[in-house]
């Protein structure tokens, strides 16, 4: 490689907490996720938070890959700039392609998402932000989960149920037309992966969605996204 083997090339997305850049890492296409310093809080708090969140997210990505879930491979963690350098997953956000898919493909994808989330939950993780913007469909029709920024280690029914609830809300608000078939396929995938391990743990988790919905906080709430 000339000049440098690590090169940040262009900004892809600027979020509230982090910026995503595209670039190359030792010849490979890479994503640089850099947590932005926040000037409203003092340096000690800010640098500590950015560091711990960067490490948490990177650890989660590495860990959940071992359960057979498609997530970007972590290449490197740069502690000084609180940046995760990971493999660039070439594909489209599910959000952008959902309406171009035929029903067979949609059903297949959502089933697969259900399988991945089920594996995540069975191993004591929650994603924290399952949306159709955080799911990538590659040109080989593979599904990848991205953005583990709100990931948590949890084995409670409530947290897992919340994961499903948030996904359900996103589907209703952004893709209402396909909601029924998508969410049903998703739940089928979710259940099937539990049943593979002869577990019926999915039951209380799915039932608890109704309990969450009955709370004042979520009545008639309309999502943007």
């Amino acid at each position: 490689m000339s000049k440098s083997t690590i090169k940040i090339e262009r900004l892809l997305h600027k979020g509230a907490e982090a910026s995503l850049f595209f670039g190359h890492w030792f010849g490979k296409e890479a994503i640089f996720k850099q947590r932005i310093p926040k000037t409203y809080r003092i340096e000690q708090i800010d640098s500590q938070l950015r560091l711990s969140r960067t490490l948490n997210e990177a650890r989660a990505l590495i860990k959940v890959k071992t359960y057979g879930i498609n997530v970007p491979q972590v290449f490197e963690i740069d502690v000084d700039s609180s940046t995760i350098i990971m493999k660039y997953v070439n594909g489209e956000k599910l959000k952008d392609v959902i309406s171009d898919l035929d029903q067979v493909m949609r059903t297949r994808h959502f089933f697969q998402i259900g399988v991945f989330i089920s594996r995540l939950h069975q191993n004591g993780h929650v994603h924290g932000d399952i949306t159709t913007s955080n799911i990538i469909v590659t040109s080989n029709e593979d599904i990848f989960l991205i953005d583990f920024g709100l990931h948590e280690y949890s084995d409670t029914i409530e947290d897992k149920s919340m994961d499903l609830h948030l996904f359900k809300r996103v589907l209703i608000s952004s893709h209402g037309k396909y909601f029924d078939e998508c969410f049903n396929s998703f739940l089928n995938g979710y259940r099937s992966e539990y049943l593979k391990n002869s577990s019926n743990q999915y039951n209380p988790i799915i039932q608890n969605i109704k309990v969450i919905e009955s709370r004042g906080r979520y009545i008639k709430q309309v999502d943007r996204k």
Partner: protein, 337 residues
């Protein structure tokens, strides 16, 4: 006195403050008198507060009528804080309001205390549709108006921010109210001691932070390796950073063009500075409720009562039962849109 249109008398009685405000239907506050229970030691004891409110309520109403230069017969509407708050204390306000309504044969309206904090802020700061950070001894809420309600985007999962600061101040031997004393102490330090920073999505947790700060206070390293002002500084920096992070996230999400800081803790200059910073970053206008209307007060109850009365009419007596736990996102807001 000559009446400037119709008048509403509002009664605030959710916690340690008994406050009476008289507001005309255009929103001008023509009388506001408050009486607060100040414990010699410890916090708010509901039975003792109730005792003070029951023996003082008549006097405060009279003082407020004097300040407004009008007679009780000039009042056209009674509003009271119906929810949320401490049950025994909410009851006194409700009873006094029902009594006035029946004696004077005037309509009666129950008001949600949290909504009143937002409405007085909107009116006093002349803003239309803000993202609100409401921080007080009893509440910690990030809210914005959407689909007919003040939706709650983030809130505390355990204790409210004001309660946390007051409790810590009490443990440190600082008399009530502790908030301003902690603020003054914090100005003397820039030595940050690490404390737990707990943000879950858009929700907050302060109880672990409180326990850790208390542990620092009880350690024998106090006054040797660090001092009370260092803990005060660290407590404020940590908790306010948490509040600001959640507010910023909600702001990015809702894309509101105005930010309103309200409630008793809104008086804190450091918190104002932080929220102002993120408002500017998102090109939103930042406003703090004027100090007089930041804490619990009868004027906000009166004003919100007027809004409700003009759009939906009065409540029947049977609808005025108090509701100590009511969430503000369970109430539709017919006077907006």
């Amino acid at each position: 006195m000559k009446k400037n249109g119709n008048l509403c008398l509002g009664i605030e009685s959710t916690a340690h403050t008994w406050s009476v405000g008289i507001v005309d239907f255009l929103g001008n506050v023509i009388g506001l008198v408050s009486d607060s229970y100040n414990p010699d030691k410890g916090g708010i004891h509901p039975a003792l507060v109730r005792e003070q409110h029951t023996s003082n309520f008549k006097k405060i109403i009279k003082q407020c009528l004097n300040e407004a230069d009008c007679s009780i017969k000039d009042i056209d509407l009674v509003a009271f804080s119906q929810s949320p708050g401490l049950g025994p204390i909410l009851k006194i306000g409700a009873q006094v309001a029902r009594m006035l309504s029946q004696l004077l044969s005037i309509p009666l309206v129950g008001v949600n205390h949290c909504i009143a904090h937002i409405e007085i802020g909107r009116f006093q700061c002349k803003i239309d549709d803000p993202l609100t950070l409401y921080v007080s001894g009893g509440n910690t809420i990030v809210s914005a108006y959407e689909s007919e309600r003040y939706q709650i985007f983030g809130e505390t999962l355990d204790i409210p921010i004001g309660n946390m600061i007051d409790s810590f101040a009490r443990d440190a031997g600082l008399p009530h109210p502790g908030g301003p004393k902690i603020e003054r102490l914090a100005l003397k330090s820039s030595n940050y001691l690490e404390l737990p920073y707990i943000v879950k999505g858009m929700d907050l947790s302060f109880s672990g932070l409180y326990s850790s700060a208390k542990r620092l206070l009880q350690s024998n390293k106090l006054n040797k390796e660090y001092f009370l002002e260092d803990i005060a500084y660290s407590l404020q920096e940590t908790s306010f950073s948490m509040l600001t992070e959640v507010t910023e996230r909600a702001l990015a999400h809702t894309r509101k063009e105005e930010v309103l800081l309200t409630g008793g803790v809104a008086a804190n200059k450091r918190l104002q500075e932080m929220i102002k910073k993120i408002s500017e970053d998102h090109n939103s206008r930042f406003e703090v409720v004027p100090l007089r209307y930041a804490g619990d007060n009868g004027a906000m109850i009166a004003w919100t009562g007027i809004l409700r009365f003009l759009s939906e009419g009065a409540h029947k007596i049977s609808e005025t039962k108090i509701n100590p736990k009511q969430r503000m996102d369970n109430i539709t807001i017919p006077w907006r849109d």
